[in-house]
Assembly symmetry: D2
Homo-oligomer: 293 residues x 4
């Protein structure tokens, strides 16, 4: 019924100096291909999409499509500041094999981006993009939280099939689930509230921590959806601290360091982002050890 | 194992003009006595505690204790701005038969109320109050959100037995549950996130909406705790809109109007609060009709 | 033309243990009597009004009136959560010799305190209080900022003669000055934006730092009003850091410590507030030394 | 002494459909060439820089340089999300004749952009850009407010010559002025606090409203700097409401409409921004009439 469900990793973009580290990315993809992930998000916030140029974005989409198992879906993060740019980038990603576009609301002129403006923006996009669209609510980065009413209105569009909510307001998530069609896919945008989202009727998650614990996250979701609530709750509690370390606490630099520490390729973040220092690295190591990683 | 669990109504204080309407309150108590509620909170935020003087507070505690069934617990809201005032008021309420004190953090000098100050405040109180204490986190009114770490630290005190969290941040609630002892009672502070809190391991709720839908709320909690997740989720979705009307959307005036409309006695709020207007009243009527009230 | 102008100190309430230190307060008043201050605010935020009971409040008003020079005005801070309480306390303070009431908006049920509610609150108060009223906008403590439009509307009431703005938003202050009658007194609520407020047409200030630097503040204001802008700007820059230490940075405990250090009587703050530690004390000493205090 | 001072208009980018309207821009430049402006900012927030692609940005810089009087300075807004992009774009703009770069802090990964990260970002830029740099603090759009301490630290770099502060916190502006060298140029970023900034020692402004009232703004600044404080205050009060209409209230669409109404070429904003409706247009007309425009 739902076009998209399950756990997706919003993959990091490994750099070698200031260039994309293609062999490193290939190594990571090999790992994800062996995992229980439903798919990957390329060009998500964790992929440093805002720090990539257009050429790099298209190269990444093409490269991942080439090396990702055919049984995994690839969602492209195509949010940009202008309506037309989103349409064009999305359609190019579709041509390169993306299965859907994950589109964050525009963010710079936030004082002007009221519901009417955002409804016009996403409706035009949905009308002109030739693949399904998931909305992306990311207030921590955009300082805008799309309202449940706006999302419910947009969910009526046949080409808008879901939402990734990274705000984590469970009241808002509950309202989104309540107000959207049964086949609209509501995804948790962080591992910190994955189980509560699933318990309320969400069907998946796009989670930074799935970069390093893909199977753990997939198992957590499977437990929740199989009605094994106690198991799911226990797993949810277990990932709270490591999840914070690779998201709100240490950001993308924390995630990349964690990847390096477990044998994947995170590499340095692109400037202005700076790598984590030794103290944070030690903290991340401690947390990884709890998972025998 | 938990000293406190189940659904509590933080009862409204009915006024007749500017005086407490004792017969009206008696009528409400008769209704709650017949309900599935575990107990009542007197002098909660919904009870307009911040608008009551000390004499009124003690009269209310005594009156409710007299008319409340012996099988229901009575929790007294005893938060005040000074540490000593909290201690004194709490002990007087204990003498009048309160089973526990629900204590909101102080709020006026919020710039100075860091974790160390709040830890000192609550520890002194817990040392000197002769009944169990539940912490009360209410950022919407106090503009302070007590951190999970602070709550976990305070939960080590033998006299601090739980927390009512009205912030609704499910990540924070998850962390509180994760970091506190197994017998520490975590309560949802609003009907809007009751099920998610219970699903994560919370054991109760103190809910404005329990003033008008006590059995519905108790049934929802029972379903969640019996593992009837689908039923609980469905009930959770059903109360979202009415819950908003008697909390964030129309405040205490909305709650009191809803009570009046279903045959309880809400009465006017005390000034500066003003009653809801006709438009809001119509909206509340519409929402009550969904529950055949 | 303006009923109130010049610099007021919102005096601290010295405690000895948990009791008011009357001899200490007398000593402070002797100092202020010799100063260039226009008057004092008793029961202001810096006076820990929110931590005092009603009896203490009335005793403080009576005591200060008795010991304050007749050429100094005394303004009573009479903000309370309920409309009626404000009216009653204000009139009792008037009977005890207060020249005006400084009234902060109510703060606990902030979600319900919209402009209409606050307009009703202050209008009823202004109708029933038998002395002039200054509004008190203090968003740092109340998490509400009264809008320029609301203040302009209230300024039409003959009994509302001014506003103390502690928010420090110079755009809002400019709008308040622009939209209120020429004889409406706009006061800066902190030394950190005294000169900009006066430069825009404000006529006074009620400043924590005036507790320790009364003449410096009065001289700064005199310079600004005499058109000695360079001198005023230079003095404004000079107080920035010490001002922060006795307000936003270290709060009332910082102010009280500074008073102790210069030979006045600050004493301990009342709990939950805690005294500053040694590190902060050293910082305050360093800053006082810049003024040869 | 100051390399940059006086009033700059951050010019709008007129569109014809989705293309830049070059003849329209030429018409606007002719008007600004006849004005008392010190110069223009091209690619500022009001110029919809975030909605322009790289090619358009360079074309705009070249076009304005070609048609702007030689006695006016041209500052290029070159803020981008990555450090390298800022360096490259700035140097290309320098090659095209820009006199300085106005550089907003990066904004998407705001949780990671602490003072250390921003100091590294701006220092690398200042080391590698071959023209002077003004920092641009724009919290309304970036949800980050660079601290006075960070700005003071960066002001030590010989290539960082000033700051445009659009936050309008006069305490912060005072601290910036106090903590930076005497020849560091502090500019108001909005007409709503131009005079207070100048009164404290600021030396200029980059103001949306200077697009439509260039001489009025220049005269206000001249009055302030000539010590004609009463005149400056009166002018400051006069622009408050119109200034709000072309900034916080109606945004860039409001500014563009105002330009159209007075015979300049605003044109439509680029989507996702939408033009103002008739009600807002009528409001803008009313406000323009107060200036006989």
């Amino acid at each position: 019924m739902h076009q998209f469900k399950g756990i997706y990793a919003p993959i990091a973009t490994p750099f070698n100096g200031d260039s994309i580290d293609w062999p490193g990315l290939k190594k990571n993809l090999d790992f994800y291909n062996q995992s229980k992930l439903a798919g990957l998000v390329v060009l998500g916030s964790n992929g440093e999409f805002a720090l990539l140029n257009r050429k790099e974005k298209l190269e990444l989409i093409a490269f991942v499509r080439e090396h990702l198992s055919k049984d995994k879906k690839m969602i492209a993060g195509t949010g940009c500041e202008t309506t037309q740019e989103v349409i064009d980038l999305s359609n190019e990603c579709a041509d390169l094999g993306a299965d859907a576009a994950l589109i964050v609301n525009p963010w710079y002129y936030k004082g002007s981006y009221n519901d009417a403006v955002l409804a016009n923006h996403f409706t035009k996009i949905a009308n002109q993009v030739k693949m399904p669209i998931m909305l992306y609510n990311m207030p921590r980065n955009t300082s805008i939280s799309m309202s449940a009413n706006l999302i419910a209105q947009l969910a009526q569009h046949p080409n808008i099939v879901g939402v990734k909510d990274s705000g984590g307001d469970i009241v808002q998530i509950t309202n989104i689930i309540r107000l959207t069609p049964a086949n609209f896919s509501v995804f948790a945008g962080s591992g910190s509230f994955l189980y509560p989202t699933l318990a309320m009727g969400g069907v998946g998650g796009t989670l930074a921590i799935a970069n390093i614990l893909p199977d753990f996250c997939a198992d957590l979701a499977a437990a929740a959806q199989a009605g094994q609530h106690e198991k799911a709750v226990s797993m949810q509690k277990k990932i709270m601290e490591l999840n914070a370390a690779v998201t709100s606490k240490y950001g993308i630099p924390g995630l990349k360091k964690a990847m390096d520490l477990i044998g994947l390729v995170g590499g340095t973040p692109r400037e202005p982002l700076l790598p984590v220092d030794e103290g944070k690295t030690a903290d991340i190591k401690r947390l990884l050890a709890e998972f025998d990683l």
